[in-house]
């Protein structure tokens, strides 16, 4: 019972991001989303000062700390944060 429950939970945890990503009904603003991704990747930022959308899921972000990053999604659906 507990195993199946845990398996369900893990499945939910694993599948939720992708499924939700497809749903695309987020309540999160783009700067906040970008800041979360930059932080998840362990990059310093402080706060997103501005951003420029270069293409779909491709942003050039300027942080309050002065750092600039390119945040984009690769063809194999990986989020990449590159410092500029």
């Amino acid at each position: 019972m507990q195993d199946s429950a845990t398996a369900l939970l893990i499945a939910a945890l694993l599948l939720a991001p992708a499924a939700s990503a497809e749903e695309g009904k987020e309540n999160v603003s783009v700067p906040r989303d970008l800041f979360a991704v930059i932080t998840l990747r362990g990059k310093p930022c402080g706060r997103v000062k501005s951003y420029e959308r270069r293409a779909e899921n491709d942003y050039l972000v300027t942080c309050e700390s002065g750092h600039r990053y390119r945040v984009h999604v690769t063809e194999d659906q990986r989020v990449v944060v590159e410092e500029r």
């Binding site: 019972m1 507990q2 195993d3 199946s4 429950a5 845990t6 398996a7 369900l8 939970l9 893990i10 499945a11 939910a12 945890l13 694993l14 599948l15 939720a16 991001p17 992708a18 499924a19 939700s20 990503a21 749903e23 695309g24 009904k25 987020e26 309540n27 999160v28 603003s29 783009v30 906040r32 989303d33 970008l34 979360a36 991704v37 998840l40 990747r41 899921n57 945040v71 999604v73 659906q77 990986r78 989020v79």
Partner: protein, 224 residues
């Protein structure tokens, strides 16, 4: 003489009269003083009592059930006469609203979360809430698209490394546990502001999830 005597008499009379008046005033003030400070303020406060009753009910009243509490709070002041009753009246009223508070889902929430990680005693609760949890994870609006995808990348990477550990003995279990904990913390920190309930549930299920990951048999089942 008479005028003087009369004057003296009248003076003495005035003096006595003043003394009597003073004595009466003093006795009255003393007499009122015993009841006055308490009964007076209490008697006046009958409105104040209503105010306090209203104030005590106000915090709960407007939030919960203003129409119910308002009449109840208004009733106690009705027996204005005995101040003790007025004091007692609001007291039972406050416990009454306090009763629903113990049933706060917040306290039960962590309990469930803690029990999830614990023994199977609460197996029924998590089993019931898992579908909800899955739905919440799918539908939570606390994560943006890029954040979800980045988290999925991290989870996939961790699962790949756990699989490599079980299959080939690559890496160390302690390192995988650290990464797992860090990942859970990241998810929780992302959820805690906009979806604290979900963050709590994930925190409660952390140990159970890790037990599945570290067990080769369970992980194999999960992978298939």
């Amino acid at each position: 003489m008479k005028p003087e005597g009369a004057a003296l008499v009248t003076g003495a009379g005035r003096g006595r009269g003043l003394a009597i008046v003073m004595a009466l005033v003093l006795s009255l003030t003393l007499a009122c003083g015993e009841d006055g400070p308490r009964a007076g303020p209490r008697a006046e406060p009958s409105p104040p009592e209503e105010a306090t009753g209203g104030a005590s009910a106000a915090p709960d009243g407007p939030d919960s059930t203003p129409p119910d509490l308002a009449p109840e709070a208004a009733e106690p002041p009705a027996p204005v006469a005995p101040p003790d009753e007025l004091v007692k009246a609001p007291v039972p009223k406050t416990p009454a609203p306090a009763e629903p508070k113990p049933a706060t889902p917040e306290t039960s929430g962590p309990g469930e979360a803690g029990s999830e990680s614990g023994a199977g005693t609460a197996s029924a609760a998590p089993a019931l809430s898992l579908e909800e949890l899955e739905q919440e994870l799918r539908k939570t609006r606390a994560l943006g698209f890029l954040t979800r995808l980045a988290l999925k990348n991290d989870i996939d990477d961790l699962l790949d490394d756990v699989r490599a550990f079980h299959d080939n003995g690559d890496g160390q279990l302690e390192d995988l546990r650290e990464r797992f904990d860090l990942l859970v913390l990241k998810v929780m920190s992302l959820l805690q502001d906009d979806d604290p309930g979900l963050a709590r549930r994930i925190a409660g299920a952390r140990e159970a999830i890790w037990r599945l990951l570290e067990d080769p048999m369970e992980f194999a089942k999960l992978s298939t």
